[in-house]
Amino acid sequence: MSNDTCWTIVRGAADGDAGARSVFARTYLPVVRAYLLARWRNTGWLPHVDDASQDVFVDCFRDGGALGRVDPERRTQFRTFLFGIVRNVALRYEERVARDKLRQHATEFRPDEQPGREERLSHVFDRAWARSLLKRAGQRQADLASDDAARRRVELLQLRFREGMPIRDIAKRWGEDAAVVHHEYARARAEFKAALCDEIRFHDPQGAANVERECETLLALLRVDA
């Protein structure tokens, strides 16, 4: 993972590397699904989410498909690129249904077949994207934890944020002085931040200089109203 960037994965996937395709799909399927589900919530297209998700990846992987057209030298964020692909597939589905309707000379307005607002949907996509990267950062931090102390710091973050335990309770539970645990907590947060920076570099190798700012931007995406 450490030497790869999303572009090497993309290139591998475009070249037919099964491993790269698997990594690519595993990484981005949740984001793709989240977008399609939000777009087609309460519409008649909802049952097509699985098919459309598949089409997104078929579009990416086929000869001359979307991944083949990617130019990593261009200063484009991969998030924007993927968003474009997913949105196009969704639009294609919707257009096809609209075309069918026209063939039938149907003119009535069907509120159950109107997709969600595009503006809101891009927020959904952004938030799903941010959550996906943060989760990967958490996983990366856990993967990089090479000794017991580092693993304990990951556990500390889990207790703090999964269980909602205050630091003093964690200290009490571990039989440690609270100040020591606070210190470890600060280290754990710093390690997480480093993992997140790695993750951001993975997705935007050219933006490495501004990785701090990218972190802030990514975290801000979590707060976007959807």
Binding site: R131, L134, L157, R162, M165, R187, E216, L222
Partner: protein, 1047 residues
């Protein structure tokens, strides 16, 4: 990296960390949720593990399979319905276990105590104690868990009843103590059991005893209960809370100074022993509960607990100083039996050493007392009987003496004596008759009490006959008449309701007959269809609430049927009223429904349903009002949504309704039907079963089970259920014949007709369902090719029967022989079977690529389809819509392929199908390959139709002898891969779903004539032994998989 990050408390980063580490939506939960205790332990660092000692119940332990692989999953299974009570420590809520569909009581620790490890531990202990004490007198604890906010909660049986405190408060006079002593004995036995398991309650009081409607007694609120150390003393001082003096009320504490206190003083001062009031928690043992039992007995006997000073503080002081003189004086003056007074005084001894040892001793004493009372009562009855015998003997003796002593006196008094004797005999006869009448009357009253009005009527008729056979007192005669009046009214009410219910089951096959039946039944129950509203008001004035509800539902149903027919006629451009001539306008029906049931929400629902205003229906479904609606309203909403073409939304509404009304017959029956229509077999079966258990006498419930078996199960079982349904109709009549002669006569005529009608209707429905349509036929019905052969043989030997031809057409489509299907069905287009035939033939023509013919046939099928009855994704309407959509896609694509033009990538799969249907399998195969992408169809999909068609195309291309052998082999290999992909799609579901889908998908694949060459080794010989082997292996795998699902 080791420097402290300045953003330690940055909320933005906190949010990011939470997103990274919290259990997210994407969590696959593979590692399984940690146990509740582990999570609580994680929070407070430790937690309780209470293990009670074994009880001496002497029974054999059940044999357990310790190797079971069953695991419980943590789910959001409880739905909170409301709050029952709130105390200092916890809140008791009423909830619904959505998994088991039962109401439960949920006790949740209050928010402010979340961080209080001591209380958290006590809370867990309460749950564990309640979970381990298993006694009818103790409310069972079902489950311990954490809610969404990670607050601990536990669920208990929801006890319905009143507290002993409330019952005692209602008592007019403390001398009314008979039934309370029975309750008291049960409390003693319950506490004796707890003591035997090493648990003391420490807060016994009448407010903590619940008495149910059927006299069941349960001791509640074990929040302060304590497990005794082996020595017998509560081990409290070891970890006594630091916040001594904090006072919190128990969840059931009252406002009368009987609050319970946590900290140094646990319990309720008005009932507590001095050692407890003094805060001596380390000295408490079973005898503390014994004192509280004495206090309860004191209240039963005297009307008040031992301490009754004004103000909490004074009561605590009295209790701590054991100021019991007042209580003893009241006991002595209570007029109770000396044994009871002695027992109460013993229990209330200030020194624990002077009290009975434990609750078992008290239970023994009270049982002995009650046995004495019973014995005394029995002796009194025996004595009374003996006295009566003595009187009779004396009377006889006196008569003899008089006769022998003086004939003169005898002659003088003969007339008088004779009169007396006759009068005495008459009195005896009357007494015996009254006894018999009273006995029959009692039977009737008992049956009426449990709502069994049929039995009540039978019993009261017996009482009436007896009463008519001789002379009885006016009082008892009046009682018989009163019960008879009530029973007759109730039976008529039930009869009305049943008849109205029957209407809702009518099949729409013959709309005119349905119209007549609705009108006739309404007239029979006194409602004249079309009458002015004031007349309607008069007619329904005497109706019971349940009858009005049933009538409202029937009118709604009637209006919906009218709407369906009208709407459908308009939709098809057909003439309205070709199938019914309504004598009552739909406007009157709606107005009458609103009159009978003036609820504004239902009024709005009717308007929305009748105008097919889907948005309005959805607004109603989303409104919070649905939470308070009766089951019948929600049922109507669901039916309306389904009728508006949204059966899934109908299901969602009914699922919500089921949470609130798990015992509604109609909700369950309709849920079963809707689920059946959308092919969710497990849910459909579950609700059919529930409906049957709710009304085991309902033929509709058995019929629903029969239909389920037809579609998902075993046709033999379906026949059994159908027979049961038919038999029940007959039994219904037998049962009703027990009723009064007049009612029975009226009903028998109707029921005889109903039996005929319903049997005919049921039989037709089963036949129709068994005949199946569009893949809805019996899935385990054996080899469809063999069925085709059988049907062809029937046609040859038994003449050209239309029904056989219709079924043959259906099976030919199932096996993929579309050309023959179209030919076989063609003659049926001018017969009563045209409705089914048109639909099946349209499907066949579509697959033959004859799109224009298919479209014409489809138009016929749509015109003949009835909107409401055939609604639903699995129903005919949905199937026709699906075919229509496929044609809409296929026809322009065919035109493009024929005339040239560009096809978008998204239409590739559809185009491939069209090309295959147009007879170019090799090109179709190439198109499919392009549509699926380089890796084939590997992603989760909802449907495997494309893969299946692609495989058929590849096989057809592989068998094309004009092609090169290597190309043919490649095609066949691709066909296997695509079939495998389809197999993966249908197999990647839950087990239950996979079973159904596999049967639907794999079985047809195994029998499809288009795949036949791959099952026939000789046909593939030309391609080499490897090819033959590959296909043999392939089919073997399928058979094994199928066999596994059927096991």
């Amino acid at each position: 990296m080791t420097d402290h990050d300045p953003r330690d408390s940055d909320p933005l980063w906190d949010e990011g960390l939470r997103a990274a580490f919290a259990d997210g939506d994407e969590d696959d939960g593979a590692s399984g949720p940690p146990s509740v205790l582990a999570r609580i332990e994680a929070r407070i660092g430790h937690t309780s593990r209470v293990f009670l000692r074994d009880g001496d119940d002497g029974g054999d332990a059940p044999i357990l399979d310790v190797h079971t692989d069953q695991k419980l999953e943590s789910t959001q299974r409880y739905q909170v319905l409301g709050e029952i009570a709130r105390g200092g420590i916890g809140v008791v809520l009423q909830g619904r276990d959505t998994n088991l569909g039962r109401d439960v009581a949920l006790k949740v620790l209050r928010d402010r105590h979340r961080g209080n490890g001591e209380l958290l531990q006590r809370f867990v202990e309460e749950a564990q104690i309640g979970g381990q004490l298993q006694h009818p007198g103790i409310v069972p604890v079902y489950d311990l868990g954490l809610d969404g906010e990670r607050r601990p909660f536990f669920t208990m049986k929801l006890v319905k009843g009143r507290t002993l405190a409330a019952l005692l408060a209602e008592r007019k006079d403390p001398s009314d103590r008979g039934r309370f002593l029975g309750i008291y004995a049960t409390i003693c036995q319950t506490i004796a059991y707890a003591h035997s398991r090493g648990v003391i309650h420490r807060d016994l009081k009448p407010a903590n005893v619940m008495v149910g409607a059927f006299g069941e007694v349960q001791v509640m609120d074990w929040g302060f209960a304590k497990v005794l150390a082996k020595g017998g003393v509560a081990d409290e001082t070891l970890r006594r809370p630091s916040q001594a003096g904090d006072s919190v009320a128990t969840v059931r504490s009252g406002p009368d100074g009987s609050a319970s206190f946590a900290g140094s003083i646990y319990g309720t001062p008005a009932y507590m022993p001095p050692e407890q009031a003094q805060g001596g928690v380390d000295r408490l043992d079973e005898r503390a509960d014994v004192f509280a039992l004495g206090s309860i007995l004191c209240e039963i006997l005297t009307g008040d607990p031992p301490y009754r000073s004004a103000g909490d503080r004074a009561v605590i002081e009295d209790a701590a100083a054991a100021r019991l003189d007042d209580a003893r004086a009241r006991l002595d003056a209570s007029g109770a039996d000396p044994e009871l007074i002695r027992l109460a005084r013993q229990c209330l001894e200030p020194d624990p050493a002077d009290r009975p040892r434990n609750a078992a001793s008290v239970a023994q004493e009270i049982d002995a007392y009650l046995a004495t009372v019973e014995r005394r009562a029995t002796e009194a009855r025996v004595e009374a009987a003996a006295a009566q015998v003595r009187v009779v003997e004396e009377r006889k003796s006196r008569r003899l003496t008089v006769a022998l002593a003086t004939t003169v006196v005898a002659s003088i008094t003969l007339v008088a004596l004779g009169g007396w004797w006759i009068e005495r005999r008459a009195a005896d006869r009357r007494e015996r008759l009254e006894d018999r009448v009273r006995s029959a009357l009692l039977d009737g009253q008992t049956a009426a009490g449990r709502g069994d009005w049929v039995s009540a009527t039978v019993a009261v008729e017996r009482a009436s006959e007896l009463a008519a056979s001789g002379e009885i007192g006016d009082a008892i005669r009046n009682e018989v008449d009163a019960l008879r009046t009530r029973a007759t009214a109730s039976v008529e009410r039930l009869d009305r309701r049943d008849r109205l219910d029957d209407l809702r089951l009518l099949d729409d096959n013959d709309p005119a007959a349905v119209e007549r039946e609705f009108a006739r039944v309404l007239r029979d129950i006194g409602v004249q269809p079309g009458s002015p509203m004031p007349a309607l008001d008069d007619a329904i004035r005497s109706f019971a609430r349940s009858t009005r509800t049933a009538l409202g539902s029937v009118l709604d149903d009637w209006a919906l049927r009218r709407y369906d027919r009208r709407h459908h006629s308009e939709e098809l451009g057909a003439e309205a009223g070709d199938d019914a001539t309504p004598e009552t306008s739909v406007e009157w029906i709606v107005a009458a429904a609103k009159r009978v049931d003036p609820d504004p929400w239902r009024g709005a629902l009717r308007d929305a349903a009748l105008t097919a205003d889907l948005e309005a229906l959805r607004r109603l479904a989303d409104s919070s009002e649905t939470e308070r609606l009766p089951a019948s309203s929600v049922d109507l909403l669901a039916l309306s949504l389904s009728a508006a073409g949204q059966p899934r939304e109908g299901i969602a509404v009914l699922v919500d309704a089921f949470d609130r009304y798990p015992n509604s017959f109609w909700v369950n029956l309709h849920l079963s039907r809707f689920y059946r229509e959308v092919r969710e077999s497990e849910a459909a079966e579950r609700h059919a079963m529930i409906a049957r258990s709710l009304r085991p006498g309902s033929s509709a419930a058995w019929m629903e089970l029969a239909l389920w078996e037809v579609e998902f199960g075993d046709t033999v079982q379906a026949e059994t259920y159908l027979a049961k349904a038919e038999a029940l109709s007959a039994e219904d009549v037998k049962q009703r014949e027990k009723l009064t002669a007049q009612l029975a006569r009226k009903r028998t005529e109707r029921d005889n007709r109903l039996i005929d009608d319903s049997a005919r209707r049921l039989r037709m429905r089963l036949e129709r369902a068994m005949r199946g349509w569009s893949g809805r036929g019996p899935e385990r019905g054996g080899d469809p090719n063999r069925r085709v052969e059988q049907l062809e043989a029937q046609l040859r030997t038994g003449g050209d029967r239309l029904i056989v031809r219709a079924e043959l057409g259906h099976h030919l489509v199932r096996v993929g022989d579309f050309a023959r299907a179209a030919t076989v069905l063609e003659p049926l287009m001018r017969t009563p079977y045209r409705r089914d035939a048109a639909a099946v033939r349209a499907e066949a023509l579509y697959w033959m690529g004859r799109y224009d013919d298919a479209k014409a046939c489809l138009r016929d099928a749509v015109r003949l389809t009835r909107r409401r009855r055939d609604a639903g994704p699995g129903g005919r309407s949905e199937a026709l819509r699906r075919l229509q959509r496929r044609l809409d896609v296929a026809m322009p694509i065919a035109a493009v392929l024929r005339d040239g033009g560009d096809l978008g990538a998204s239409d590739a799969r559809a185009a491939a199908t069209v090309v295959y249907q147009m007879g170019d399998p090799a090109r179709a195969e190439a198109l499919f390959a392009a549509a699926f992408g380089p890796d084939g169809p590997v992603w989760p999909r909802t449907d495997a139709t494309a893969e299946f068609t692609a495989a058929c195309a590849a096989i057809a291309a592989g068998l094309d002898e004009t092609r090169a052998v290597s190309d043919r082999r490649a095609s066949l290999a691709r066909a296997r891969a695509w079939l495998d992909a389809g197999f993966t799609v249908v197999g990647a579901r839950t087990k239950g779903y996979a079973e159904v889908v596999l049967r639907r998908r794999i079985v047809p694949w195994q029998h499809d004539v288009r795949l036949a060459p791959t099952r026939d080794a000789e046909r593939l010989d030309a391609l080499g032994a490897d090819e033959v082997r590959a296909w043999r292996g392939f089919w073997r795998r399928y058979r094994n998989q199928l066999a596994r699902t059927e096991r």
